[in-house]
């Protein structure tokens, strides 16, 4: 009996092994069989309601072209990038992925994303140049189609600003004065906080100041995290934290929600998606907030940074890249698709034509007191500064959280924290085998 069991075991494991090789052989079939038969694509995305938008495609355009898209909902974040890269290592990545702009260089340098310039070149005109540039990484290739963007803005409690006799700051100098004026009038309040838990905010502020964190020079990378522009931003916020003009507690915590809800903090530097966050964080202050363009570094300038935003990319593992690229283009440029994305996913579309009118003709319910919310937002979106991402944004971001959390807590030197961020990023790039100059 023992003997037969063992033999069966050997036989089964052999079958499994043989089966695996057989399947592996099938998997590496030829690239694009466009002509033949219906195509089925999988799409990893995190935006809410993306499956419903895909259903629209499957019922209309997709039906005509015999391309069916299935959405597999994922959790967003840096971990998803790792997961996609791991899947690509095993040649099992889905056909389409939703990817944040800052993740694109990481994915490209790991050879995950396909160049779809041939299929999507025509879509370039639909987007602001600063947004489109993020999907090309400054090359002739196109690695993704922009989906949503996060132009940054200044949000403030209109009623409390009036109560304390404050004016909306148009420059960062005025911003600092406003913070100090508020502290003088009511020491228990703070204009806002410097948060170390979301690196995207700091990156966006640095972009506005003109920072270029990753650039290429020929074959090598140049890291400019501690460039003059970013230093200026770090010193500015470090100074405000140090003299106690603003709070130093992180965002998105229950106590931060409470501070917004009870008016302990009366402003927030955020992006176009803030209404959604405020709806859950500060439900009792609905209708009391207003949005204004971000304060500027010099008077009369009109610039903003970007915080958040993502794109739709096609992977190298896809056996139907052309079909996938066609879906990605439809998803982010077709008016019906964009309307559904806005309605179901609550995104702020990157396509300029969709930024006003349609689903965005009315202000978000939370901002019913500011009927021109999206008209203003579209104006701000046009002024987004270009961003420059590199292949190890995740490392820089992790280091930001570590060293700036310390610096904010101890109210110590922000430039030293910035130096640590630069150093960690450069040494990681070198460790990964990239050439680094400067």
């Amino acid at each position: 009996m023992q003997f037969t069991t063992r033999r069966r075991l050997v036989a089964t494991s052999l079958t499994i092994a043989l089966g695996a090789t057989g399947l592996a052989a099938c998997g590496s079939g030829d690239d694009d069989q466009e002509a033949g038969g219906p195509v089925s694509l999988t799409y990893w995305a995190w935006a809410p309601g993306m499956d419903k938008v895909a259903d629209i495609w499957n019922a209309t355009e997709g039906k005509k072209q015999q391309i069916k898209v299935t959405v597999k909902k994922q959790a967003s974040g840096d971990d998803l990038v790792t997961k996609i890269i791991t899947a690509a290592k095993a040649k099992k990545a889905p056909d389409l992925v939703q990817a944040e702009y800052q993740a694109l260089p990481t994915l490209v340098s790991n050879d995950v994303l396909a160049d779809i310039s041939g299929e999507v070149k025509g879509a370039e005109g639909e987007f602001a140049p600063g947004v489109w540039q993020q999907t090309t990484l400054g090359t002739d290739a196109v690695y993704a189609v922009p989906q949503d963007s996060g132009p940054m803005m200044f949000y403030y409690r209109e009623d409390l600003f009036e109560q304390y006799g404050l004016t909306v700051p148009t420059t960062w100098d005025e911003f600092a004065q406003t913070a100090r004026a508020l502290k003088k009038k009511d020491p228990s309040k703070a204009l806002t906080t410097f948060s170390s838990n979301d690196s995207g905010l700091f990156a966006g502020l640095a972009q506005q100041a003109g920072a270029q964190w990753w650039t290429t020079e020929g074959e090598s990378w140049k890291v400019g995290i501690d460039d003059a522009a970013t230093k200026k931003v770090a010193e500015f916020w470090g100074g405000l934290v140090k003299d106690g003009s603003i709070d130093n507690q992180p965002m998105y915590t229950p106590s931060w929600n409470k501070a917004l809800n009870t008016g302990k903090q009366i402003a927030w530097v955020s992006a176009v998606w803030a209404p959604g966050t405020l709806t859950t964080a500060a439900p009792q202050t609905k209708g009391k907030w207003a949005m204004a363009p971000l304060p500027q570094w010099s008077k009369g300038e009109r610039k903003t940074g970007s915080w958040g935003g993502s794109s739709t990319a096609v992977t190298n593992d896809s056996a139907h890249k052309k079909a996938a690229a066609r879906f990605a283009t439809w998803l982010n440029t077709d008016s019906a698709a964009l309307a559904a994305l806005v309605k179901e996913g609550g995104i702020y579309p990157a396509a300029t034509s969709a930024q006003t009118g349609g689903a965005l003709s009315e202000a978000p319910a939370y901002f019913s007191n500011q009927p021109d919310f999206f008209t203003t937002a579209a104006e701000v979106a046009k002024t987004a500064a270009p961003s420059a991402w590199g292949p190890n944004v995740n490392v820089a971001y992790t280091q930001f959280r570590d060293s700036f959390a310390q610096a904010a807590k101890n109210k110590s030197d922000f430039t030293a924290a910035l130096g640590a961020m630069q150093e960690a990023t450069v040494s990681d790039l070198k460790k990964q085998g990239f050439e680094v100059t400067g």
Binding site: G19, A20, T42, W46, K73, A75, G150, N261, Q284, G308
Partner: protein
């Protein structure tokens, strides 16, 4: 487990700390003094473990509006609405995740216990060449955090074309070094060599001896292994996170994570996640309550003498 702990510590906190377990009034009569330091340490420990649970219980009753605005431990009014919202979210996918978790944890723990029982028994009872080496390798496996194995396991599964399937999560769980280790220790302690020898004298085959004689003796130990595995799989995050791409196959841990991380432009669904987390603890509590009685067997399972 939590419910039990609460019941036991609750009276202790009020009147006579430290004597809740034994007959309550004996300690003072014996003239023994209550050991305040250990008692306080234990009470602080209990509070430390129970406060988050209490928070989850209270927070699950709050509506989105109340969650961050009312006093932390003041119950809210939205419990039923929260459950209804959670069940309605994406056509009840939460309950699918719960079923998935039950399958992964229940079936996985059962298989893993069976493997642990067999190998633990073999390691404890038979003497064969390489036995200690195998055991030492297992010990090394106990020290190895499963986290670092997740990616290699994924690559292996992908090679066998089994990634993103129920099996891909189930298979790596079956061999648990800790389970085998526990089973061996337990078998060595509870199955005396004399009993096995007696079985052989009576003409029982090895399989029969294992099944009819050793297995019942090992049962309390195996229950422990089962529980450990069940809890470990139920709480497992990284392995399914890497293995699974299809959200219809997610266990509840992963599913709740997708509710939290919806991208920067969408707020996290805190109320749903909190309610979901609370409901996800219920099966664990139920399991502990049901399985507790098996542990009392431990006292009855005498060896050869007595």
């Amino acid at each position: 487990m939590t419910a039990v702990t609460t019941r036991r510590t609750a009276p202790a906190a009020g009147t006579t700390p430290g004597t809740a377990q034994g007959p309550p009034r004996r300690a003072p009569r014996d003239g023994r003094r209550i050991a305040w330091v250990p008692t306080m340490a234990l009470l602080i420990g209990a509070a430390y473990c129970l406060l988050p649970v209490a928070w989850i219980v209270v927070a699950a009753t709050k509506s989105g509006r109340e969650l961050f605005s009312t006093f932390t431990f003041l119950p809210g009014t939205g419990f039923t609405a929260n459950i209804a919202d959670l069940s309605a979210y994406r056509d009840g996918v939460y309950w699918r995740w719960m079923l998935n978790s039950l399958f992964y944890a229940g079936f996985g723990a059962l298989l893993s216990t069976a493997v642990s029982a067999l190998s633990g028994y073999a390691l404890a009872v038979y003497r064969f060449r390489g036995r200690e080496t195998i055991f030492n390798v297992l010990l090394a496996g106990v020290l190895m955090p499963p986290v670092i194995l997740a990616v290699p396991q994924y690559l292996l599964m992908a090679k066998a074309d089994m990634a993103d399937s129920y099996l891909s999560v189930l298979l790596p769980l079956i061999l648990s070094p800790y389970g085998v280790y526990l089973a061996r220790i337990y078998a060595a302690a509870s199955v005396p060599a004399d009993v096995v020898e007696a079985g052989r004298m009576d003409g029982g085959g090895e399989w029969r001896i294992f099944r009819s004689v050793a297995l019942p003796m090992m049962l309390p130990g195996l229950v422990t292994v089962f529980l450990f595995q069940f809890v470990a799989v139920w709480n497992n995050f990284l392995l399914p996170y890497i293995m699974l791409g299809d959200d219809q196959k997610f266990p509840v841990t992963l599913g709740l994570y997708t509710l939290l991380q919806q991208g920067s432009n969408t707020p996290a669904l805190y109320t749903l996640v909190i309610t979901g987390a609370l409901l996800a603890v219920v099966p664990l509590i139920a399991l502990f309550l049901v399985i507790q009685r098996f542990w009392s067997l431990d006292l009855l399972s005498g060896a050869v003498k007595s």
